[in-house]
Symmetry: C2
Subunit: 501 residues, 2 copies
């Protein structure tokens, strides 16, 4: 067991922070509640960005950039929005040595400033749809912070679209929710529940908020992404108008949707183990590490030469030649396995570390495959290949090619997803009464499904008494009606309660 | 001539803003001095980012992310640094509804906060070198702003490295300058002069600042990138120490280097013409636009069908099939020509625009190639291909393949670079006296080369009298000595004066 990592069942919160520290994913910054995303953590964010950006663009979106600062008055234009965000804002009052006439808010989200610009850009139905995404940092003054999950500043993408009709806006909102669902499940290997938020949990200013909710290994819920149908609320507040096909001037229909560096937290908490980080191969910046073993420099050199043709078969001659010519630290030489994703294979030649230390080092960083080769492998034409999930195979080095390498990675990806689905399914319970719900959350964590008619006051009371909130009204419904767990009145839908991060 | 663009020789400043507006690259934001980078402009930034990021990583750098906010006290730890940056800072005084104990500065650059973290991370020579880059937004409270060239908030990358020795730090500083030079010349097709800044122009806190200086079409100079050798200044201020190979604890040697969205301004001002934006093919997000011509929908359909095999030859079957299946606006269908760079070919099917309007539209957006096909081409098996630089060819459609397409693009890239080199060379003059220098800048713009011993007070006086500053002490030196143009004393080097943006 890793000495620097507390086991999950002893202290889950501590375990989470230990995994982050051991893999050097992030540090707390010297500014309260802010984090430094270290190279290992940032490479994971880059993997996610590349994949999401590709998916967004395939759906017709383009990127743009809007200012960090928002005039305070903008926030006030949408009544619910200012109520939701004003208490969380960081405010710039001085610039260039002078007091500002109007304070500037550091964006907590950009609906307002983007709405202002859209009013300038949109005049006719021919200008629609506008399908823009922004990659940016945002700031929300949080009282209690936790690395990746809730930090004062975080990185995210926020999509902002404008449409001709209510139907189109709703379609876009759902299309992007589906984009997030498939990204979470197929890429991050984290199963999610999809549904709609209750009014008390929706985005400040939205008509409806859809979400994907994941379950972490402690049974707590994590909101992993949201997609908001804003109706005409922001279009009215910011005067986004267009002349329709019917020649009538009308307000546009807008949406917004986002995911953030919180997804790195989700990834850690969904898959990692008591040995450290576990990364699904599709996300992993380093797919495999090669550890050459030898007692002398000469022996190691022989081992590396032996492995060279395999590496060339995997990464391609051009890539291996380019890597050999590269400057920098020659003790850790990385070759690109996939130029499109930037995923690498690393050959760990560091001579100040023993093979055991190297295993430990890469295991804690979640690298999916470890390939060990020593003098005996040179004799026998073999290699030892070990998966981060524990399987160990002695294979013929000649059999290691892109096909067999890719299927090993695919098998790990699948295993992680199946394991997470099983865990999630085992921790969803149905209850028929509030007493059952209370009893569940008194001792357990998980998703509790029950008949319930959403109501702001009742939800607040339940949260106070149990810490649980309605995570979503899931799309997946049993149908029929049954008694609301609180009021006993007929409820035609079930909701899912959970204790959230 | 484009009606919405003022000719360069009538009003260069107005021309610059007109080109930006016509191509919809950026808008002023409702916050003083801030800009909104619109999708067409942001796609150019994404092109640059991808290429730079690839080059940085090939040189062994990794990305990370540091906080937006810096405690005010950090800035004060390096004496020259605070003097240089404090007057330009935006200051957050309130957060979460409360006044902060210590105000936070919105980062104008990140040497201080990164220095603080490096002190935590670096302990031994084994931890070195640290080669980190950050893509981020920064804020400098500028009095006079101009889109892309000088805005209050801008996007950039800032590299921050730490090394064992003065020699290594100097090597890194020069390696990154060379990285910028080749990026500017080979990718942006903008020739640059390389050299070192005088003390009065160097980065606040640096030992030495190296730079690449471009010349715009009005003869003014633009600093396009800088690479700073910080010596041990920040290591001393932030206590970045390590135990060396000699077992002596010593301060590390650090560097920093950056380029910003200002490069979009450079690109516009170096290449564009009175018809609008001109983009070098390597940077262009859209490589070619295909304009199908036909009097009826049926005729247009036939033309598109005729062109389909050519498009498949260019972009590949998989890509064309994927594009056909894509959701979104079907009037402008884009196929990826290069998945690695994201560069596209667009087929412009918009029926509410006449072909002439489409020419105009894409010309103003700087697209390198325009391919027109009409019913007569269907008959004769031809296509009309026009370069953004004016050449027009009628070709056999069967001859258009990736090879011929790539060589047309390469020819445009070369022509742009040659044109810019010729312009630059024609506007460099050598002078032997201050009177000559004054006479030159009284009526002209360009680079003035002369013998001069850098001196803060003298440079200030020259700037006041002529507006010109020393752009750099170029690497390329004639050798020998000659009289300093001001003092007449022997000067063993020439410097280059220019009027900068």
């Amino acid at each position: 067991m890793a000495k620097n990592i507390k086991p999950r069942n002893e202290d889950y919160s501590e375990w989470y922070l230990n995994v982050i520290a051991a893999a050097q994913l992030a540090d707390y910054a010297p500014v309260r509640g802010c984090m430094v995303i270290r190279p290992t953590g940032y490479a994971i964010w880059e993997s996610m960005q590349k994949e999401l950006d590709r998916r967004f663009k395939e759906l017709g979106h383009v990127n743009a950039y809007f200012p960090l600062f928002i005039p305070e008055s903008f926030l006030r234009k949408e009544a619910e929005h200012v109520e939701g965000f004003a208490p969380e804002c960081a405010v710039v009052t001085h610039g260039g040595g002078e007091k500002l006439e109007e304070p500037l808010v550091v964006r907590p989200t950009s609906e307002t400033i983007i709405g202002h610009m859209y009013a300038d850009w949109i005049h006719s139905w021919r200008d629609l749809p506008v399908l823009i995404n922004q990659w940016a940092n945002v700031v929300r003054w949080e009282k209690r912070t936790r690395l990746f999950l809730r930090t004062m500043e975080f990185l995210w993408q926020e999509g902002h679209t404008a449409h001709e009709s209510a139907e189109e806006a709703e379609q876009e909102t759902l299309r992007m929710l589906e984009c997030y669902r498939s990204f979470a499940e197929d890429f991050l290997a984290v199963p999610v529940m999809t549904g709609v938020k209750t009014d008390s949990e929706k985005f400040a200013g939205a008509l409806r908020t859809y979400c994907i909710e994941g379950m972490m290994q402690d049974g707590k819920a994590l909101q992993m992404g949201t997609s908001h149908n804003l109706g005409q609320n922001f279009a009215r507040a910011f005067d986004i108008k267009f002349e329709g096909r019917d020649q009538v001037v009308q307000n546009a229909w807008t949406t917004s949707w986002g995911v953030s560096t919180r997804l790195i937290g989700a990834l850690i908490m969904a898959h990692s183990d008591d040995e450290g980080l576990v990364l699904p191969p599709k996300v992993a910046p380093v797919l495999a590490v090669v550890i050459p073993i030898g007692k002398s420099d000469e022996e190691k050199k022989k081992v590396v030469e032996y492995f060279n043709p395999v590496l060339r078969r995997l990464a391609g001659d051009a890539e291996v030649d380019a890597a050999s010519a590269r400057l920098g630290n020659d003790q850790l030489s990385a070759v690109f396995y996939n130029n499109l994703t930037g995923q690498q294979i690393v050959v760990d030649m560091r001579d100040q570390m023993r093979p055991g230390e190297k295993h430990y080092y890469w295991e804690q960083r979640g690298v999916p495959l470890r390939i060990e080769i020593g003098p005996r492998d040179v004799e026998s034409g073999t290699a030892v290949i070990k998966s981060r999930l524990g399987d160990k195979d002695v294979i013929n080095a000649a059999d290691l090619d892109r096909n067999s390498f890719d299927s090993r990675l695919a098998a790990i990806q699948d295993a992680l997803f199946r394991r997470a689905v099983e865990f999630r399914n085992a921790n969803v319970v149905d209850v028929a009464s509030y007493d059952e719900l209370k009893a569940f959350f008194a001792g357990s964590r998980g998703f509790v499904r029950c008949r319930f008619n959403p109501d702001r006051a009742v939800e607040a009371r339940i949260k106070e008494e149990t810490k649980a909130t309605v995570r979503c009204i899931p799309f997946d419904q049993p149908g029929g009606t049954g008694p609301d767990i609180i009021s006993g009145k007929p409820a035609d839908r079930v909701v899912v309660f959970g204790i959230g991060y």
